[in-house]
């Protein structure tokens, strides 16, 4: 049996029945990684000895007792490397503390195991911007897994991990989940603490689960959610029973269909899958209601101003002084400039430069402030739509996974592929990608993800509908 192909729920049953112990499971997963991951590149590192030590005194009665969770390489785990897939930090940084999500995982009995590949500092939609190694889609190794949490998606899809954590700033959980055929949930902004996550865009980033089933995602979300004294943007609201939403029917649930998300640029085969899934939701008792999100076309432009502006400020900390790469230089300004030039990769530098420009004196109002105002309009679109409906349904991505190298020379083309996911981050709402079947491209079956978007703190409805869809068997 390949232990790594199990779900969280299945592995828990194996533990509780005495068929497996956490140390046996960890050793078995390590063998799978050794055998399979060279061809995929989903892991940047893993530390079996440390995980076995963590497993030694684990309480199996806890909700995640003994369950190994793969961790995107921008989340701090004490004693583990945290490179953000950047030469800036690779081999140069060991986390001195646990992120709040890791503390919560540990309190629930989970074992952080393995650091997953990503676009450098989470900037990208294909994991091709990893400064460490290439990452491939397990369904077709000539294609990317999506990104930026491409490693987390690839290891769950490729059965070298039970489940993983990712982060989503403009779709970085949902889009790779879609391209790899796994479940990925982006929580409402503030639902999950960001303390200990290396920040990309602080007003957009959220951490969430990437799993094989909706039930596993609900369980992980329930564990990592909740207030945090070290993140003042983390909402002080009770965590409801997300696992309790699994198995509830969706009769009478109103699901909005935004016309703007089915316009030009959507691959016809993807569109067919999404429309079939919508019919299934309807047959399960949901009421499909047309809605409009008229500012959708401005979301990508708004996002790339706000996200790069915030990134330029957040990444100022990588200056060769306290941690990370330091270049040889006699003069302080040169030390900063050379350390950053050598440590950061191409896309990261491009975004820092763009972000610096839109915040610079004389341009702030024209770019950054204006983008923040358009952000308000985008948020209002959702507020109005959610007056009429409980959820919104759409594709996650306009196409299946792209070929490696397809967008190399054209960053803007890559940005435009984020059109369906970006608005949720700007509006701060929650969203999930759930597998809804495959499309055939070049003789390969490539996964398609169905996106459901929910109201702020509306994760219960999201999980309810995603699980009902998953259980219908429509995805095949």
């Amino acid at each position: 049996m390949n232990v790594a192909s199990l779900t969280i729920a299945e592995l828990r049953r194996s533990y509780l029945s005495g068929d497996l112990s956490p140390s046996e499971a960890l050793s078995s997963i390590a063998v799978e990684i050794d055998q399979k991951d060279n061809a995929i590149g989903g892991y940047l590192s893993f530390d079996l000895d440390r995980a076995l030590a963590d497993a030694a005194n684990i309480d199996l009665s806890l909700p995640l007792g003994g369950i190994p969770i793969a961790i995107k390489d921008l989340i701090n785990v004490e004693g583990h490397p945290c490179s953000c897939a950047s030469k800036m930090l690779h081999g140069k940084y060991t986390s001195p503390y646990d992120a709040t999500v890791i503390r919560k995982l540990r309190e629930a009995g989970a074992i952080p195991f393995g650091r997953t590949n990503m676009d450098e500092f989470a900037m990208g939609s294909s994991t091709e911007n990893s400064g460490i190694q290439i990452c491939r889609n397990p369904h077709d190794t000539t294609r990317t897994p999506g990104g930026s949490s491409g490693g987390s998606a690839a290891v769950v899809a490729g059965n070298t991990a039970i489940a993983a954590l990712g982060t989503d700033t403009g779709g970085s959980i949902r889009q790779p989940a879609s391209h790899c055929g796994v479940v990925g949930l982006k929580p409402t902004y503030g639902r999950v603490s960001r303390y200990g996550l290396v920040a990309f865009a602080s007003s957009l980033d959220q951490c969430g689960p990437m799993t094989k089933t909706v039930a596993d995602a609900a369980l992980l979300l329930e564990v990592i959610s909740g207030r945090c004294d070290r993140d003042s943007t983390c909402l002080n609201e009770d965590v409801p029973s997300y696992t309790g939403a699994v198995g509830k029917d969706i009769k009478g649930l109103r699901i909005g269909l935004p016309a703007e998300y089915f316009a030009k640029g959507l691959d016809p085969a993807v569109k067919d899958r999404i429309e079939a899934a919508i019919k299934t939701l309807e047959s399960l008792g949901a009421e499909i209601v047309p809605v409009s999100l008229p500012n959708t076309e401005h979301a990508v432009a708004t996002y790339y101003i706000i996200a790069t502006a915030e990134a330029s400020a957040n990444l100022a900390r990588f200056d060769g002084v306290r941690y990370g790469h330091r270049a040889e230089a006699d003069d302080l300004i040169d030390l900063y400039k050379k350390s950053r030039a050598e440590g950061f990769g191409e896309e990261v530098k491009r975004r820092i430069i763009l972000g610096t420009y839109v915040l610079s004196s004389g341009y702030y109002d024209a770019y950054y402030l204006r983008a923040q105002k358009v952000r308000t309009l985008i948020r209002r679109d959702f507020e109005e739509a959610f007056q009429k409906v409980d959820l919104i349904v759409s594709p996650v991505s306009p196409t299946p996974a792209f070929k490696l190298g397809e967008h190399h020379s054209d960053p803007l083309a890559m940005y435009l592929a984020d059109i369906y996911t970006i608005s949720a981050n700007l509006a701060g709402i929650c969203g999930i990608s759930v597998p809804c079947g495959t499309v055939s491209v070049d003789g390969k079956a490539l996964p398609v993800g169905l996106q459901l978007l929910g109201k702020p703190m509306g994760e219960i409805d999201l999980i309810r509908a995603a699980h009902a869809y998953e259980a219908s068997g429509d995805a095949g």
Binding site: P96, L235, V321, R322, L332, K337, A341, S360, L377
Partner: protein
């Protein structure tokens, strides 16, 4: 936009080849985002954070659980006398 000026503000050294490539790519992205100028945003409040959380305060007490000096220095590229070591900045 002058790429050299902005790169200096961002404290990133660029080769000539990088400067010309970034100039072209960033100009292209800026041209794309100009579409926002066509939207009427008169009287619209800017959104800085999606979730409106204001004035989160706590008791002004030392909470403990801070990093030790040793841990804080553990990843530093250069340390001297239990401090971060830097090139000389004063004559």
């Amino acid at each position: 936009m002058n790429i050299r000026t902005v790169a200096h503000l961002a404290r990133i050294a660029l080769s000539d080849e990088e400067a010309s490539r970034y100039q072209e790519q960033v100009d292209q992205i800026l041209k794309y985002v100009e579409q926002l100028n066509l939207i009427n945003v008169d009287g619209i409040e800017p959104t800085a954070h999606a979730g409106a959380v204001f004035d989160v305060v706590r008791q002004d007490l030392v909470t403990g659980n801070s990093l030790s000096q040793e841990a804080a220095l553990s990843n530093a590229p250069a340390v001297s006398h239990e401090q971060f070591r830097m090139p000389k900045v004063v004559e």
